[in-house]
C-alpha cells in the first residue's frame, strides 16, 4: 500500500510534464490524459481509505541525510484533504475543456493545473516540514503562472503580487521550521507529537499560513487573483491554494504541536477581524469574482475559528467546512465563469435577470450559495453550527457572537450578488446571452447537487472526521 501514496503524488507531478508533449500532437488526447492523471490520483487516495477506516495508517519512508527524510503518511486528515481537493480538481479540469479551449498557452495551462494538484496531494501526505515547504512552493509557482495566464501587463502584476506575498510568508514559515528544528532536533512531525512550539516559531509559521490562506492582513492578493481564468480561481479557492494554509494549521498545530495559550486569545481576534473586513468589502465591491473571493476570505475565518478552538466539535466543524466550502465555492466560481464567459462582463451592476437565460446555472449557483450561507438542508449548515458551538464551548461566546454577525454578513453579500446577477430586470444588451457548454454545466450541476446531498448525508463525512480526530488525539 505504501507505493500507492507515491503513485497518488508522483503520477500527477511527473505526468504533468508529459502533457505539453502530447499537446503538440493532439489537444484532445492531452485533455483526456490530464483528466486521467487527476482521476487516477483521486482513485489512489480513495484506495488508501480502506486501511484508515479500519484504524490503520499507511506510511512510506525514504531515509535521507540531515533530517530530510521523505515521510509520507496516509492518515485520516491527509486522505480527507486529498480526496476533497482532487475531487474538486477533477470537476475543474473537466470544466476547463469548455472554458479554456479558445485561449493560447493551453499546454502550459494543463501542465500547471495538474502539477498544482499533484503538489497539493504531496503536501497533505508529507510528515516532514521540509517537504511541506517544498510542495508549498511548487504550488506557489504554479499559482503564479496560472493567475497570470492571460499575459496582459496588469494581470501579470497581480500574479506577481500574489506570488510575492505568499512567498514572503513561506520564507518566514521556513524560518519558523528552522527554529522548530533547533528546538526539537528534527523536521519529522511524527517525532514532534505533543511537544511545545516556541512563540516565535508560531508567529513565523502563522505568517506563512495566513498569507497562503488569505487572512487579514495578508489577504488582498486573493481578490486581485480574480483576473485569472475562472476554473483557476475555482482551483485556488476551492481545492488547492487557500486550503493549504488551513490544512497546514490543522497538521502542525492541531495534530502535532502545542502552543502557548496566549495564541488562543490572539488568533480568534485576528480571524474575527478578517471575517468582518472581508464581509464588508464583499458588500461594497461590484466585480463578481472579487465578491466571491472576499467571501472565501470570510469563510476561511470560519474554518480557522473551528481549528483554533481546539475542542472536538469545533475542529470537526472546521474540517467539515473545508469539504463543504470546497464543493460550494468551486461551484460558485464555475457558475461565475459561465456568467462572465457568456455575458462578457464581470461587473454585477451591468447584469440582471439572467435567470431566464441561464436557468441551470442559476439553480446551481443558488444551491452552492445556500451551502456557503449555511442554510439547511445544505452541507454548510452543519459545519457552521458546529464551529459556532465549538467557539462557545472553547469559552469564547463573544467571538461566537461576532461570527454570527459574520454569518449574517455572508447571507447579505451572497444574496446581494445573487439578486443583482440573476434576478430583476434583464438588460437589453444581455438578451442574447446563452447557457454554458455541456461539460461546464455538468460541472456546476454536480457541485450544486453534492452541496445539497452533503447536508442529508452529513453522517458519512462526519464519521470519517471522527477517525481523523482520534488520530490527531484531539480531546485527550
Amino acid at each position: 500500500m505504501e507505493n500507492v501514496i507515491l503513485l497518488a503524488i508522483l503520477l500527477p507531478i511527473i505526468g504533468a510534464f508529459i502533457l505539453p508533449v502530447i499537446g503538440r500532437f493532439s489537444a484532445k488526447i492531452r485533455n483526456i490524459t490530464a483528466l486521467l492523471l487527476v482521476t487516477t490520483s483521486f482513485g489512489a487516495s480513495l484506495s488508501l481509505l480502506g486501511p484508515v477506516l479500519s484504524g490503520k495508517t499507511t506510511t512510506f519512508l525514504l531515509s535521507m541525510p540531515l533530517g530530510f527524510d521523505l515521510i509520507l503518511t496516509a492518515d485520516a486528515l491527509g486522505i480527507l484533504m486529498a480526496l476533497a481537493s482532487s475531487f474538486v480538481g477533477i470537476i475543474i479540469v473537466m470544466y476547463s475543456f469548455g472554458y479554456i479551449h479558445h485561449d493560447a498557452n493551453q499546454n502550459e495551462y494543463y501542465l500547471m493545473v495538474v502539477l498544482f494538484l499533484g503538489s497539493m496531494i504531496g503536501l497533505v501526505y508529507s510528515q516532514n516540514l521540509i517537504f511541506i515547504y517544498l510542495f508549498w512552493e511548487i504550488a506557489a509557482i504554479c499559482c503564479w503562472r496560472l493567475i497570470g495566464f492571460y499575459r496582459e501587463r496588469e494581470i501579470v502584476l497581480k500574479a506577481d503580487k500574489a506570488f510575492l506575498i505568499t512567498v514572503f510568508g513561506a520564507v518566514a514559515m521556513l524560518l519558523g521550521f528552522v527554529i522548530l528544528y533547533s528546538q526539537h532536533n528534527t523536521f519529522n512531525l511524527l517525532e514532534m507529537q505533543g511537544k511545545e512550539a516556541s512563540s516565535l516559531a508560531v508567529l513565523l509559521i502563522m505568517f506563512g499560513i495566513f498569507s497562503k490562506s488569505a487572512t487579514l492582513p495578508f489577504h488582498t492578493w486573493l481578490p486581485d487573483a480574480g483576473v485569472a481564468p475562472s476554473p483557476v480561481t475555482g482551483l485556488l479557492h476551492a481545492a488547492v491554494l487557500v486550503k493549504i494554509g488551513v490544512f497546514a494549521f490543522a497538521r502542525i498545530f492541531v495534530g502535532t504541536l502545542q502552543f502557548d495559550p496566549v495564541w488562543m486569545q490572539i488568533l480568534p481576534i485576528v480571524i474575527a477581524a478578517s471575517a468582518l473586513v472581508a464581509g464588508g468589502a464583499a458588500l461594497v465591491d461590484t466585480n463578481i469574482k472579487r465578491i466571491i473571493a472576499y467571501s472565501t476570505i470570510s469563510q476561511l475565518a470560519f474554518i480557522f475559528l473551528g481549528l483554533v478552538m481546539k475542542n472536538p466539535i469545533a475542529i470537526a466543524g472546521g474540517l467539515l467546512f473545508i469539504i463543504m466550502h470546497g464543493l460550494a465555492k468551486g461551484g460558485l466560481f464555475l457558475c461565475a465563469g459561465i456568467v462572465e464567459h457568456n455575458a462578457h462582463t464581470k461587473d454585477i451592476r451591468q447584469m440582471g435577470g439572467l435567470i431566464t437565460k441561464m436557468p441551470i446555472t442559476t439553480v446551481s449557483f443558488a444551491l452552492c450559495a445556500l451551502s456557503i450561507m449555511g442554510i439547511p438542508p445544505f452541507g454548510g449548515f452543519f459545519a457552521k453550527y458546529m464551529i459556532i458551538t465549538g467557539a462557545v464551548e472553547g469559552g469564547n461566546p463573544w467571538i461566537a457572537g461576532v461570527f454570527i454577525l459574520g454569518g449574517f454578513i455572508t447571507v447579505l453579500y451572497v444574496l446581494r450578488l445573487f439578486a443583482l446577477v440573476f434576478l430583476g430586470e434583464m438588460r437589453t444588451d444581455l438578451v442574447n446571452v446563452k447557457e454554458g457548454s455541456n461539460t461546464m454545466l455538468a460541472a456546476v450541476v454536480i457541485l450544486g447537487v453534492l452541496s445539497l446531498l452533503a447536508g442529508f448525508l452529513v453522517h458519512f463525512p462526519n464519521e470519517f472526521i471522527q477517525i481523523a480526530l482520534e488520530q490527531m488525539k484531539v480531546g485527550i
Binding site: L276, A316, T389, G407, F408, V411, L423
Partner: protein, 616 residues
C-alpha cells in the same frame, strides 16, 4: 407500521414537492390536483396517527446531533393542524393560481414548505428542528418571489430578517449544547442565569422572528402586497404562527425556568406588538395589508398569554394560536376571493360586495367577529382567557392587561371599518358586477368559518381534546384537573361588551365625519401627535430593515476602507520603500577609499561583537 407512517408524513410532501419542481407538466390543473390529493393523503395519515406516542431515534452527525423525532400530545396537535391548513390552501390554490404566471413552481414549494413545517414540529432534537426550521427560509423566499415582478425584493427582505433570527437561534442552540450537554428537546431544563440567559434570549429571537412579532415583522405587510395570496394565508397566517408560538411555548415552559425579569421581557414584547401593529392596521387602505398587520398584532396576544406563566394564560395563548390560524387564514382567503373576482384589494375601489359575493361576505363576518372577540366565537374565548391570565398576574402587571384590552378595542374598530368598506360601502355604479368565487375557493373558507363557530360554542372540545394532551407534560399538575373556562356574566364579560360598544361608537363617529366606511378611522389618523407618528411610519422610519440598511451602509463602507488600506500597504508602500532602498546603489561610486572605510567599519563591528560576547 406507525413509525413508517410518521416518516411518510414529511417524506411524501418532500418528494412530491421536489418532483413537481423538476418534472415539466403542461396540463392546466394537473399540478394543483396532484398537490391537493397529496395534501389530503397527509391529513388522513395525521388523523390516523392521532393519540399515539412514537419516537424515532437514528444516529446522524455526531456531537449530540441525532435524527430524533417525537410524536406526542403537543406535536400531534401542531402536525395535524399543519396538514389541515395545507390541504385547505392547496385546494383553494388549484383555482386561484391556475393561470397566474410562474404558478408552475408554486405547488412544489407549497409541499416542500409543508414537509419542512411538519419536520420542525416533530423534531425532538434541536438540530433536527433547526434543520427543518431554517429550511423554511428557502421556500418562503421562493413562494414570495413567485408573486409580482418586484416580489423578489420582498423575498430578499424576508430572507434577511428571518435569516438573522435563525442565526440567533443557531447560536442559542449552540449555547444550550454547551450548557446542558444535550440537544434532546425533552431533556433540556435550564435556569436563566448568566450564559443560559443569553441562550434564552437568542432562542426567543428565533421563535418570535418566525412568528412575526415585532421587530421582525416588517416583511409581512410588504409580502401581503407582492406575494401570491395563498402564501399569506398559508405561512404568515397559519404555519409560521403555529411553529413560532409552539417554540415560544416549548422555550418558556420546557427548556427554561423563567425569572420574573424574563417574564416581563416576554410579556412586553407581546404587549408592544399588540398595540403598535394594531394601530398600523387601523389606518391601512388595502384589504390584504390591513390583514397582515393583524397577523402581527395577534401574535402579541399569544406571546403575552404564554409569557404570563399562569395556566389559564398559557392555555389561552395556545388556544389563541390555533384560533388565530383559522380565522386569519379564512380572512386572507376571503380577500383572495375578492381579489380574484374584482382584480384588486384596494379598499378605495371596493364596496357593496355583499350582494355580489354573499358567501364570501358571510365567511368574512364570522371570521372578523372571531378576531374582534365577539361572543360566542372562538376568538372571544381565547382572548378572555388571556385577559384572565394577565389579571391573575396581580396588580403590578396591570399594564399588560390594559394593553390587551386596548388592542382588542382597535382590532374590533379596524374590522368594522374593513367590512364596511369592502362589503357595504356605496359602490361605484360604473363598476361591473361580479359573481362569487369558484366552489374550490369557497369550500375552504366555509370550513374555516364553521370551525370558528364550533371552537367558540363548544370550546370544551378543543380545550380538553387538543390542548390538554398537548400541555400534559409541561404542566401536568395543573392540567390534571382539566381546563376550565365558563361563559359567565362576570367583570371580564362586561369588559368585552364595553370594548365592542366603544368600537362601534368609534366607527359610527368616523362614519358620520367622513360619510364612508373606509374613513371610519380617519379621525384617529388625524389626532395630533399620532398623525406625525403615522407619517413617519409611512416613510418607513420605524422599519429596522430599512434603517439597518441605511446605518449598515456606513459600517460596511468603513470595513471596505480598512481592506483598501491594507491593500494600499502592498500596492503603494511596499514598492515605494523598495525604490527608496534601491537608491542605496549610489553608495557604489567606485572610490577605493569608500570601500575601504566600509570594510574597516565592518571589521570593527565584528571585533566589538566578539569582545562583548566573551564569557567573563
Amino acid at each position: 407500521m406507525n413509525e413508517t407512517n410518521l416518516w411518510l408524513l414529511f417524506v411524501i410532501p418532500a418528494i412530491v414537492g421536489a418532483l413537481l419542481l423538476v418534472i415539466p407538466m403542461t396540463a392546466r390543473y394537473l399540478r394543483g390536483v396532484i398537490s391537493t390529493v397529496t395534501a389530503a393523503l397527509l391529513v388522513y395519515l395525521a388523523i390516523n396517527l392521532w393519540g399515539q406516542q412514537i419516537e424515532i431515534n437514528l444516529p446522524w452527525a455526531g456531537f449530540g446531533i441525532d435524527f430524533q423525532l417525537r410524536y406526542y400530545g403537543f406535536s400531534q396537535f401542531i402536525v395535524t393542524a399543519i396538514t389541515m391548513f395545507a390541504f385547505l390552501i392547496t385546494l383553494y390554490s388549484t383555482k386561484f393560481m391556475v393561470d397566474k404566471p410562474k404558478s408552475n413552481q408554486f405547488y412544489g414549494f407549497l409541499l416542500l414548505t409543508e414537509a419542512m413545517a411538519i419536520g420542525a414540529a416533530l423534531a425532538n432534537n434541536l438540530i433536527v428542528m433547526l434543520f427543518f426550521w431554517e429550511g423554511l427560509l428557502i421556500t418562503t423566499f421562493a413562494l414570495i418571489s413567485l408573486g409580482s415582478e418586484k416580489a423578489f425584493q420582498t423575498g430578499l427582505k424576508s430572507f434577511i430578517i428571518i435569516g438573522l433570527s435563525d442565526l440567533c437561534l443557531t447560536m442559542g442552540i449552540g449555547i444550550i449544547w454547551v450548557q446542558a450537554k444535550t440537544l434532546v428537546m425533552s431533556e433540556i431544563n435550564l435556569d436563566t442565569a448568566g450564559l443560559n440567559g443569553v441562550a434564552f434570549v437568542l432562542m426567543m429571537i428565533g421563535a418570535i422572528g418566525k412568528a412575526g412579532a415585532m421587530p421582525f415583522h416588517t416583511w409581512i405587510p410588504d409580502a401581503a402586497e407582492d406575494a401570491p395570496l395563498p402564501f399569506m394565508a398559508y405561512l404568515p397566517a397559519a404555519l409560521e404562527k403555529l411553529l413560532g408560538v409552539y417554540l415560544v411555548a416549548r422555550i418558556a415552559l420546557d427548556f427554561f425556568t423563567l425569572t420574573d425579569g424574563m417574564r416581563i421581557l416576554v410579556m412586553s414584547i407581546g404587549a408592544i406588538t399588540i398595540i403598535f401593529a394594531v394601530m398600523m392596521a387601523l389606518v391601512q387602505k388595502d384589504f390584504k395589508r390591513l390583514l397582515s398587520y393583524h397577523a402581527i398584532s395577534q401574535v402579541g396576544y399569544m406571546i403575552l398569554g404564554i409569557g404570563t406563566g399562569v395556566p389559564i394564560g398559557i392555555v389561552g395563548g395556545l388556544f389563541h394560536m390555533i384560533n388565530h390560524a383559522m380565522y386569519k387564514c379564512c380572512l386572507f382567503l376571503t380577500s383572495g376571493s375578492v381579489e380574484s373576482q374584482n382584480g384588486t384589494t384596494d379598499l378605495n375601489q371596493l364596496g357593496g360586495l355583499w350582494r355580489q359575493q354573499p358567501l364570501t361576505m358571510i365567511c368574512f363576518v364570522v371570521a372578523a367577529a372571531s378576531i374582534s372577540g365577539v361572543p360566542p366565537f372562538n376568538g372571544f374565548v381565547s382572548k378572555e382567557m388571556i385577559f384572565e391570565g394577565a389579571l391573575e398576574m396581580g396588580s403590578a402587571y396591570r399594564i399588560f392587561y390594559v394593553a390587551a384590552v386596548l388592542g382588542a378595542l382597535f382590532t374590533a374598530a379596524s374590522f368594522l371599518k374593513l367590512g364596511h368598506a369592502a362589503f357595504f360601502d356605496k359602490v361605484d355604479p360604473k363598476k361591473p358586477r361580479v359573481k362569487d368565487a369558484h366552489w374550490t375557493m369557497q369550500l375552504p373558507m366555509i370550513v374555516l368559518a364553521l370551525t370558528c363557530i364550533v371552537f367558540g360554542v363548544w370550546h370544551k372540545l378543543p380545550l380538553n381534546g387538543i390542548l390538554k394532551p398537548a400541555l400534559m407534560e409541561s404542566m401536568d399538575k395543573v392540567i390534571d384537573k382539566g381546563i376550565h373556562f365558563e361563559f359567565g356574566f362576570g367583570p371580564l364579560f362586561w369588559t368585552t361588551v364595553l370594548i365592542l360598544t366603544f368600537a362601534i361608537l368609534n366607527h359610527w363617529i368616523g362614519y358620520k365625519l367622513t360619510g364612508k366606511g373606509l374613513g371610519a378611522s380617519h379621525h384617529i389618523y388625524e389626532l395630533p401627535g399620532l398623525h406625525q407618528i403615522y407619517d413617519l411610519a409611512e416613510k418607513q422610519t420605524f422599519d429596522p430593515y430599512v434603517q439597518g440598511k441605511r446605518g449598515g451602509r456606513y459600517v460596511v463602507k468603513g470595513l471596505f476602507y480598512i481592506d483598501r488600506g491594507v491593500d494600499w500597504f502592498y500596492q503603494k508602500l511596499v514598492p515605494a520603500t523598495a525604490n527608496k532602498i534601491a537608491q542605496l546603489r549610489q553608495i557604489h561610486n567606485g572610490l577605493y577609499a569608500n570601500y575601504l572605510s566600509w570594510s574597516v567599519g565592518g571589521l570593527l563591528l565584528i571585533i566589538l561583537y566578539f569582545l562583548l560576547s566573551v564569557p567573563k
